[in-house]
């Protein structure tokens, strides 16, 4: 295993954060409660552990891993450190898909409607992005195409919110779009995990193609990489990994941007070696950030996870734009 030390370190850190997140919070929980939760104890402590904390943390791991891996793969495919599911409009497209399902009440008729619709939205988003920008997109083209895709998705989402039948539906959609794991339950885990796991598995299949793409599309093709297949893997993988996450947690931005960028030097800038650490790092970041939002939030004033990641990620994005400008004038 290449870079196994980095991966082992990240995995250990993730386990540590998971443990912290399980026991930290308004309700103090002990190891007994954890064991009680596993053995089906119905008293309050184990119940909080089993029905609130565990699914929330697990969902955080899944959503974070999906975002981190998608970010790493999108950056590798576009050969551009500015690519991220949020920046290039894929999260917004997935959000639109989910809102459509919520708005037309499809979720009441068909349990999987929201995640499936979010995945469709994300797939249309990535597909549109690839068509607009093309695989050899420059930084500028990529960001412009992403902005365009995101703008269309946001506009349509806005239209649906505009025509929302009542203020409660409106506020539900609005809060949901801000991104959080507040509503996490085992139901959400059941919805999202098959999609995200399958999506991340597809993303791992792109590894070798991404490495070959480092030297450009022509070199990659001459090395036997089938760009068309690679493109389908990228579209399908990101759509499922991001769409599955957005469906249960709303749009949580910048994770896919920040994590691969910070980890890249540790894998000697190799795109294939970056996917696994980014998945682990994304999970670690989401679990940690979600724990932070829980601890910071006061009664009646919840801080949303998506708001926190945006507050941290946006300045990083600005810095990254400056840095890439300086490197390639």
């Amino acid at each position: 295993m290449t870079h196994w030390k980095l991966n082992a370190g990240l995995a250990l850190g993730l386990v540590g954060f998971i443990a912290l997140a399980l026991f930290a919070g308004d309700t103090r929980l002990e190891v007994d409660h954890f064991l009680g939760a596993l053995s089906g104890d119905e008293s309050l402590g184990p119940l909080v552990m089993r029905e609130l904390r565990m699914p929330r943390v697990l969902l955080g791991v899944l959503v974070g891993a999906g975002l981190g891996a998608s970010g790493a793969v999108l950056q590798g495919f576009f050969r551009n450190p500015l690519a991220d599911p949020g920046v290039v409009g894929v999260s917004a497209s997935a959000g639109l898909g989910a809102v459509v399902a919520l708005y037309f009440g499809l979720s009441e008729r068909f349990a999987f409607a929201v995640p499936v619709s979010a995945v469709f939205g994300a797939a249309i988003g990535v597909g549109l992005l690839l068509t607009l920008a093309g695989a050899r997109a420059s930084a500028t083209t990529l960001i412009l195409a992403g902005v365009a895709v995101g703008a269309v998705a946001t506009a349509l989402t806005g239209l649906l919110m505009n025509m929302a039948p009542n203020p409660w539906a409106l506020s539900e959609i609005a809060y949901w779009l801000m991104g959080s794991l507040n509503d996490a339950s085992w139901n959400e885990v059941r919805f999202a995990s098959p999609l995200i796991v399958a999506g991340v598995a597809l993303l791992f299949l792109t590894a070798r193609g991404l490495d070959a793409l480092s030297l450009g599309e022509e070199t990659a093709r001459s090395l036997g990489v089938e760009i068309g297949v690679l493109r389908i893997l990228v579209i399908g993988g990101t759509a499922m990994a991001v769409g599955g996450g957005v469906a249960v947690s709303g749009a949580i931005g910048f994770v896919g941007l920040v994590v691969p960028h910070l980890l890249r030097p540790f894998v000697e800038h190799q795109p294939a070696a970056l996917i696994l650490p980014s998945a682990l790092g994304g999970a670690l970041l989401i679990v940690g950030a979600d724990m932070a939002t829980r601890l910071i939030s006061g009664p009646g004033m919840p801080l949303y996870l998506g708001v926190l990641t945006a507050l941290l990620g946006a300045p990083f994005f600005l810095w990254l734009v400056r840095a890439t400008q300086r490197r390639a004038p």
Binding site: R79, S214, L223, G224, Q270
Partner: protein
């Protein structure tokens, strides 16, 4: 013995013909140079030979098998191709870049085998960049980068090497070094086809020079006939009294 056989190959981009009715048979052991003014069809011809562009007319065969009928990985194991734009999107290590030449040989999800490592080491040696193996690509000079990318195309151990202007933008020393590397590969029995602009360099090293003009193969033969005074005047619009003289520069 490997043969790359072009039979009446043509390629059009929309209405514009990039290559017209090109026929030639290249054999292993030859160092073939493609020359011609900008836009004459050199890159197009290389792309067609590499199987990266499908010809609109005619057929390209590798040992009697049409290139289009080969599986991608099988084709990539037999033909290596170096595009003109020698950049890396990421600050990869030299060893990592040269290892990319092994991609067509790797089984899914497997790491580099001892055979792969041996091929990489040999390629680094032949291109004279072993000492750079642990350096990052973005810290190299353009001459060093060119040699590293050639090492990448050597590490595939393909029968056919196609290179699009590997000597462009290099100083005289690196130009000579690159041509020496290619000549050595041809002497080992590979078929090397290289597009180049430096006529004196070509005249010195190439066994066979193919002159392209407006998508048509104008000349195909040894340097002395292909780069005669008349051809150079007609094709390039410059005068070379007595034909192109092989460069007399030598590596120290």
């Amino acid at each position: 013995m490997t043969q790359l056989n072009l039979q009446r190959v043509g390629l059009r981009y929309g209405d514009a013909a990039a290559l017209i009715d090109a026929s030639a048979c290249f054999e292993s052991g030859q160092l073939v140079a493609l020359v011609g003014p900008n836009g004459a069809g050199k890159s197009t011809l290389l792309g067609v030979c590499a199987g990266l562009a499908d010809p609109s007319d005619g057929i390209v065969c590798l040992d009697d098998a049409p290139i289009g009928s080969l599986k991608f990985a099988a084709r990539a194991r037999r033909i290596s191709y170096l595009p003109p734009d020698g950049r890396s999107a990421w600050a990869l290590k030299v060893h990592t870049i040269v290892a990319l030449g092994r991609v067509p040989h790797l089984k899914p999800l497997r790491r580099l085998s001892a055979r792969d490592e041996a091929a990489i080491k040999e390629a680094l040696d032949r291109a004279g960049v072993s000492h750079l193996s642990d350096r990052r690509f973005d810290t190299l000079s353009s001459g060093e980068r060119a040699r590293v990318l050639i090492a990448r195309s050597l590490s595939t151990q393909a029968d056919v090497l196609l290179l699009d202007e590997p000597t462009a933008a290099l100083d005289p020393k690196h130009q000579l070094a690159v041509m020496e590397i290619l000549k050595a590969e041809a002497d080992r029995g590979r078929l090397v086809i290289v597009a180049a602009h430096a006529l004196e360099l070509v005249a010195r090293y190439a066994d066979r020079v193919v002159v392209l003009q407006d998508g048509v193969i104008r000349e195909d033969g040894p340097p002395a006939t292909s780069l005669s005074e008349a051809v150079v005047r007609d094709v390039f619009g410059v005068t070379a009294p007595g034909g192109v003289v092989p460069t007399r520069l030598e590596l120290l």
